[in-house]
């Protein structure tokens, strides 16, 4: 173990290795952040739709979740990156006009966003189904529409119930960004491998990446715990702890 390697210049001679890893980390966090927004937005919609009385809407929501849960993440990456441009000419035209890094970055965000949205949808649905049915009926009796009942009564309660599973999905999302290595995005794992390969200092490179991934996971975990404590409804959920 020799930490000096991180201050040696990388092979292209432009920056030290710690800088290369930090650049990779930027991509990792960028992909995780954007994908999280997509996943939360789409997942909330799909999860809510699956609790509505309209049968066809439920079926569409179920199909969405099944599709993204039953194909391995790396295969989904290949489908987004290779198959879609190969299958549809307009996509190919658009993609070839992009800078390769941009193409990889956008692909990673879309792929992870939709992949994670299926997991979020499961949690949102479970949260909504865990609420007493009377709450919804009471809202309707007060003259709220179904939309208003969801917006002001059910969803605010459901989200508070599912913060713990959402935390674990968020941490999975951060870990899953490493699979973007498979399409060549220069995120943290890509840089780690590159450093190992070019300097033969695998141990130092991988140890550094491991520590960074654990730190990000811990931070995400703490952030979600903070949110959970802030939005807690007094006398309802989680106050017994």
């Amino acid at each position: 173990m020799n930490p000096e390697i991180f201050f040696e210049l990388a092979v292209d001679g432009e920056a030290p290795w710690w800088r290369m890893l930090a650049d990779g980390l930027q991509f990792t966090l960028g992909v995780a952040g954007w994908a999280w927004l997509i996943a939360m937005g789409l997942g909330s919609v799909v999860g809510t739709v699956r609790t509505l009385p309209q049968r066809w809407l439920v079926l569409c929501g179920d199909a969405w979740v099944e599709l993204f849960r039953n194909i391995p993440l790396i295969v989904q990456f290949f489908v987004w990156y290779f198959v879609l441009p190969g299958l549809f000419l307009p996509v190919k035209v658009w993609v070839t006009a992009l800078d390769p890094t941009q193409h990889q970055f956008i692909t990673a965000i879309l792929c992870l966003g939709l992949f994670t949205s299926a997991r979020i949808a499961e949690q949102v649905k479970a949260g909504l189904l865990a609420l007493p049915k009377e709450q919804h009926l009471a809202a309707l009796a007060l003259g709220l529409t179904t939309w208003q009942s969801y917006r002001y009564v059910r969803l605010p309660m459901a989200f508070r119930l599912i913060i713990a599973p959402l935390t674990s999905d968020t941490m999975s999302l951060i870990k899953n960004t490493s699979v973007a290595y498979s399409i060549g995005l220069t995120e943290l794992f890509f840089r780690t491998r590159e450093m190992g390969e070019l300097t033969f200092r695998y141990f130092e490179a991988f140890a550094a990446a491991t520590v960074v991934y654990i730190l990000i996971s811990l931070l995400a975990n703490r952030a979600m715990a903070f949110v959970e404590a802030r939005v807690r409804v007094p006398g309802y959920i989680g106050t017994s702890r």
Binding site: R69, I71, F78, F82, G86, V179
Partner: protein
């Protein structure tokens, strides 16, 4: 839409099937090995010795905090070094990515199965084993006739779902150039320039297999549920 030629799938089917066979083999070995090791870990974690319990918890938390891809590469690099140290050989043995993956996934899955086991055992109300002991049952009788039959019924659907997740996760070994299902299809895709066809085919087969398996788990779950 450019011209697609799915003929490549039929031409190369035996080779890709060999990859799928490795994927299934790795899944089965990792599940069985992970179950055994995971059960041991759960027992250590639930034991009254605080030191051992903390070590087991640390192992489990570490495995769950680090990306699987990183774990796979860690083991790939470290395995020869560890084996050399353990056997006292002169040079690190060349075990290859294909074999090191077995050990990697057993050790990785053990952490996840440990948590499922622990939750299953803890899901049984404490009053039950106490009541069993009050009736004069020994510890092993309490476990065998009261706790484990219920714990296993509670755990089984989660264990099977975890196995389906494992079946999908195994595909990451293709990044170590191992010829699993994805790896085999990828090699054909590159060789014959049939990337679209091969990856669509792989996605379809995974989708059909995993959908079928998760349906089965759901049926099983309904049947096994403990009537309350």
């Amino acid at each position: 839409m450019s011209e697609l030629d799915f003929d490549v799938v039929w031409r190369t089917w035996p080779y890709v099937l060999g990859g799928l066979q490795y994927t299934v083999q790795l899944t089965v070995v990792a599940t069985l090995g992970g179950l055994v090791l995971g059960t041991l870990l759960a027992m250590v974690r639930l034991s009254s010795n605080p030191l051992w319990s903390a070590i087991a918890a640390g192992y489990v938390n570490f495995m769950r905090a680090v990306p699987l891809l990183l774990v796979i590469f860690w083991f790939y690099f470290l395995m020869p070094v560890i084996l050399q140290w353990a056997t006292g050989a002169e040079r690190p043995p060349a075990i290859g990515a294909q074999n090191s993956a077995y050990i990697t996934f057993v050790l990785f899955e053990a952490a996840f199965f440990c948590e499922i086991m622990r939750a299953g055992i803890q899901s049984i109300a404490r009053g039950q084993p106490q009541a069993a002991m009050a009736l004069g049952m020994t510890y092993s009788q309490t476990m065998r006739f009261v706790v484990l039959p219920q714990a296993l019924r509670n755990m089984l659907p989660v264990l099977l779902t975890q196995t389906i997740i494992l079946f999908q996760d195994v595909s990451l070994v293709s990044l170590l150039n191992v010829t699993d299902f994805v790896g085999a299809a990828g090699k054909i895709a590159q060789r014959d320039s049939r990337v679209v066809e091969m990856y669509l085919f792989v996605a379809l087969i995974y989708f059909l297999m995993c959908t079928g398996l998760s349906r089965t788990v759901r049926v099983l779950q309904a049947r096994l549920a403990i009537p309350r």
